[in-house]
Symmetry: C4
Subunit: 185 residues, 4 copies
């Protein structure tokens, strides 16, 4: 389903009416937001794929934790369009951060629900023992949201920093589970 | 396909043109409807996933019963948009209930078609023996639809009540089939 | 992919701006077209699912014949919107028939490509030996298209007749292959 | 995910408001662009399907190379709409070429990342030994982009030529891997 959300992102890129460089210029912030959201959803797609691949048992609470994560991710195309079309005005930038923050919290909840279901010596549990990146991201978003009203560039800078941090895929899980996987792309 | 419908829901959230709190206020009913429909489709997604997982044989009538269910579910993004954009006016609220009612009836038909195909001692048959929630939901919708024209808050309250009732996943099926499942998220 | 097309159909149902019966009335032809197209795409979805399930070998030409079928099917949401929003004007009704005709021809080509690849005693070959419905549909569309300019009701009547003819799933294939299938819904 | 992008393409075909031939005429360039982009995405879909089927091991860098390819492909519906709605004006034609060029480069990167992961005697490595078509396409796009500002017909002609070149599916990979495949359509 994250793949569908990534694809729906592009619908927020409205076709411009003119055909000269003038017509393209207002698209630049929209395009940059598109790239940022594409990377965020791509990170979730890859890590979600890794984590579920390493999950051996599914329960009702995992299904709902997963749906809860998808809820916040599903708002990303919406906040992307809002932030991009308004050239990074403070409120949309802050709301964008709120959605990222709640998606990160939902990810932690999903991870906890899955770990609670796996045995204490599960590979997954070993792999995510110290979830530094997850906790740091939540802190960074929490700092960025109020700062969007002070200087939106700081907030956007923090979002980009978190994205870069995650661009390296979750090697901890990957290194442990790599061999088990087939071409689930 | 229910996953795609959930994703398409977000397209009904139109990006506001302003960037202050004023511009956001008319979005509140749209957003609340979005949350409600997301939960309803999420419930169907989870339970549909459970039920089909427990189904051992597919027939032509099951395929059509499934398509019939998908038909009513496919209208949910449409009625969600209509109800949300008109701040819960009586007619959209009633039509929303009609779609939920017919989806619930279609679910019963699909369940019956699958059970008729399974043997009399199938696990699924045991699991859904007394389908209290299914029948109660249909009754609740049938009551809510005319009440939407009296006081829409009663109708919406009933919809929310049914959603909460189902938020607990169908433990009957789950408890019987839990171990068989792999990561079909 | 046909599942995605079915879902995209609903995006052609534009949310009305009013909330009374007046606002709903112009939606009736749109809704009826939606139902008709949903049934057509549902028929293709089910039969496509059956046929590919019975296919044992894939070649380059089958991939392209499949993509060719998907091309015509992908135009159905577009012609559905055009026909519905213009209350069944002659030209959109005729173009709707042209798309259905070319999709039916593409289906025949795909079926032929698959059969050429299967052995002469394949089950699938036995199952579709006399493809009466396929050929009749093509003839019916070819008759309906010019008649749309004489009396559009005749054309629409023929489309509905073909849909009803196919609503009975392709029992020939199904009866032969039924037992092999798992829950590919 | 490429299947979803193909489907989203059709959303760029806006329903015309009139119902006579006059209303249809401005749609012709839009429709032709639709056909061209459908073929390009179809080529990527088929070849992507073939290549990943032949891939035995997935790594983090392959996941990101894949996402990078999907990024450029995801822009195709957008540039398709822009080029079609402006009757092939020079700038949209050039930008269309840029997206095709970057998608082709991303394809090469993905192919290289996969080959680096496969052993030196892998079937895939044998199959794509001399990637003439991939390199020729990149050169053709690089030539077409500046020529779009001289005479857009040359640029469009080159795009069509590359599409025709690829319409023959990648027989090299296919011939080696054909037998392994099941019905992943």
């Amino acid at each position: 389903m994250i793949a569908i959300l990534i694809t729906i992102l592009v619908l927020e890129l409205r076709v411009p009416h003119g055909t000269d460089w003038q017509a393209v210029r207002p698209l630049i912030p929209v395009f940059l937001t598109y790239v940022l959201s594409f990377i965020f959803l791509g990170i979730y797609w890859n890590n979600h794929h890794h984590m579920l691949h390493a999950t051996t048992r599914i329960s009702g609470s995992i299904l709902w934790a997963n749906l809860h994560l998808l809820f916040w991710l599903s708002l990303i195309p919406f906040v992307t369009g809002w932030m991009g079309e308004n050239s990074f005005a403070p409120l949309p930038v802050a709301v964008y951060g709120v959605v990222l923050l709640l998606a990160a919290v939902a990810w932690l909840i999903l991870q906890t629900a899955i770990l609670a279901h796996e045995g204490p010596e599960s590979k997954l549990r070993m792999a995510v023992r110290r979830d530094f990146k997850g906790k740091f991201s939540i802190a960074a978003y929490a700092v960025a949201i109020p700062l969007a009203f002070v200087d939106r560039r700081i907030a956007i800078g923090l979002y980009i920093f978190v994205a870069l941090l995650w661009l390296v895929p979750d090697r901890r899980i990957e290194s442990q589970l790599n061999r088990k996987e087939s071409s689930g792309l």
